[in-house]
Structures are given as structure tokens and as C-alpha cells.
Symmetry: C2
Subunit: 200 residues, 2 copies
Amino acid sequence: MIQLHEVALSGNCHKVRMLLAILGLPYKSVAVDLASGDHQTPAYLALNPFGQVPVLVDGHTVIRDSQAILVYVASRYGGERWWPQDPAYLARISGWLSTAANEIAAGPNKLRLHHKWARPIDVSQVETLTSMTLRVIDDTLAQTRWLAGSEASIADLAVYPYLALSPEGKIDIGSYANILRWLGDVRCLDGYIGMPGMHV
Amino acid sequence: MIQLHEVALSGNCHKVRMLLAILGLPYKSVAVDLASGDHQTPAYLALNPFGQVPVLVDGHTVIRDSQAILVYVASRYGGERWWPQDPAYLARISGWLSTAANEIAAGPNKLRLHHKWARPIDVSQVETLTSMTLRVIDDTLAQTRWLAGSEASIADLAVYPYLALSPEGKIDIGSYANILRWLGDVRCLDGYIGMPGMHV
């Protein structure tokens, strides 16, 4: 059975949980206790030398990085619906996976780490990046229902958690009407599951 | 013909140039002058609302983000050799695309922006992230010839430029023997092209 090494309150882990739930794939959750340093043990670093969560183990296959796990699960278990073959569509999805790994990680995710767990950051610089990123996402969602086009994709799942968690980062998303509409659409996906502490 | 909107000294643009050259795909380079604000014009923002380079235009297809462009070019023009179908291999590649978008962008890339163009950063914090990232990459390349396995992939092209440019970020990569070996291997790929100002 698939094992997911994860932290309950991690948005990166929630991306994967959502896809597994949507596809109806059973898995065993293995809790990683960051406070105890579980992620820095030799056994964990052998799974992911970056010491990050989540890690997915499927038989002999070990995949690190939340975006990579979405690609793995979608391409192995999701069929054409979740892993399209069209290069332009794949690339639009990949562009949003990069945004999740870059701007979302360096923006909304960092603001949450700061306001929820006192991680030191340059608040002004991170807020500026966050506003720019939310503006682009809102403008995108004014033109298409989902981030990469007319269908939900792993792009939406990769971007969703830290936007849904934005109140914990003291981010006011109330003025982004298209993002608010899209957050609701994600929550209506068949199989969607929420996360403890998710307020919107 | 493919058009690549690019900046000569951008490592993100160089990723794409390398793959186009390796695949022997002709393209027209469209220079984006950041100093003149070309990347903030309405016409450019219509191509990429993030205002970043590169952007690739192929007929009616417009792709933003260097990792996404690698996915597009590899999956459309690279065949199984450059766009494998195996989910585990695809996911290993995707993990490194995330690393390029996250740790490499926030580490070696930022140090270069700081030391070459005086971009203000938290030097100590960025150097720590850079050292951690280089250590993981070096350890990976101690186990496999290429980042995602026994063959070169777009993972290597995505990670290469800002490691090759590390002297411009005052990063001493001399102690990372496996990275040095791998930089040489990338430069020996059929079709490899260098970049102005690339020292290693």
C-alpha cells in the first residue's frame, strides 16, 4: 500500500492527500514529527535528502517533493483525465507547479510560517511577492475556470492549500473575487477533503 | 518558427536555449531588455503576467516559466528520450524541476543577482540554503551520473545554469567533486551550447 510520510498541518502534504482522495487511492499515513526532528534522522534523509515533507513510498518507488508526487500519482494512477498527453496543456500545468514551488512557497507559505509559527522573514518583501502572485492568479481565474484551462488539474491542487490557508498568514484574499470563486470550486471536486485548521 | 523571448545573461533562459540546441530546433530569439522595462509592457504581460523571462511562443501556443518550457519542448519535440512515460522517472525529473524553481532560485540564483547586480538579499540565509542545496545535489551525483538517473534529462538542464554560474555568486563549488564532474558531463552533451559570462 502507498505510504505518505506527512505532517497534518502542512499545505504541501495536503496537496497530495487531496489527489489521493480524489482518485480514491487508499494509503497509510506515516506522521513525521518535525518538533522531534523526525525529518532529520538518517532513515528519513535516505527517503528525502532535503529533509522535507511529504515523501510518498509506493513499493520500491520513493518520491520526494509535493509537486513531483502529484506528477507521479497523476501519471501512474490518474489516466488521461489527470495526466494529459497534450504538450501545451502539460506545460501550462507545469508552469503552475513552478509557481507553487517558487512564488507560493516564498510568498503565502512563508507568511503563514511567520504568523502561525514565528518563522523570521522579511515581511514587507514577502507581502509584496504575495500580492503580485495573488493578482496574477486572480487575473488568470478571471479568464479560465481552472488554472490550466477548463478542467481541474494537479495545477489547482498544487496552488490551493496555501491560498486556502491565507488567513493564517494574515493575507486578506477578500478582494480577489476569482480566487474566492475558485477556492469554492476546488472544495466541490468529487472526493475533496479538507485539512485541520483550514478556514476558507 | 519558435520564438524565444529571452535575456542573454539569464540562466533561466539558458536552460531553454540548451534544450533547443540539443534537439536541433531552430528558433528566433527576441531580446527582452529588462533595463528598458520591456518585461512590464502590456504586450509582454499578455504573454506572461508574471513579467518574467523566458517565454516561448510556438504558433498559437504561449508558454511561460523555464521549467514549463522544458516540459513543453521535451514532450512535444523530444520523444521518449527526453520525455519518458515511466511515472517514477517523470516524478524524479519533476522533483528536480521543483528544486530549480525553489531552492536554486532562492539560493545560487539570488547570490548571483546580489553579487553581480547588487540585488539586496539576506546573504547569510541565502548562503545557508545554497550550501544545503549543493550538498544534496553533490550527494545525489555521487550515486547516479545524472540528477534523475542514468541518462541526462531536463532535470539536469533546469539545474545546470545557476550552478555553472556559481562563481558569479561568489559560491565556491570547488569542494563539490561530483557537481564539478557533472558540470563537465553537461558540457559534453551533443549540441550543448554555453552562455556569455559562464566561467566553469
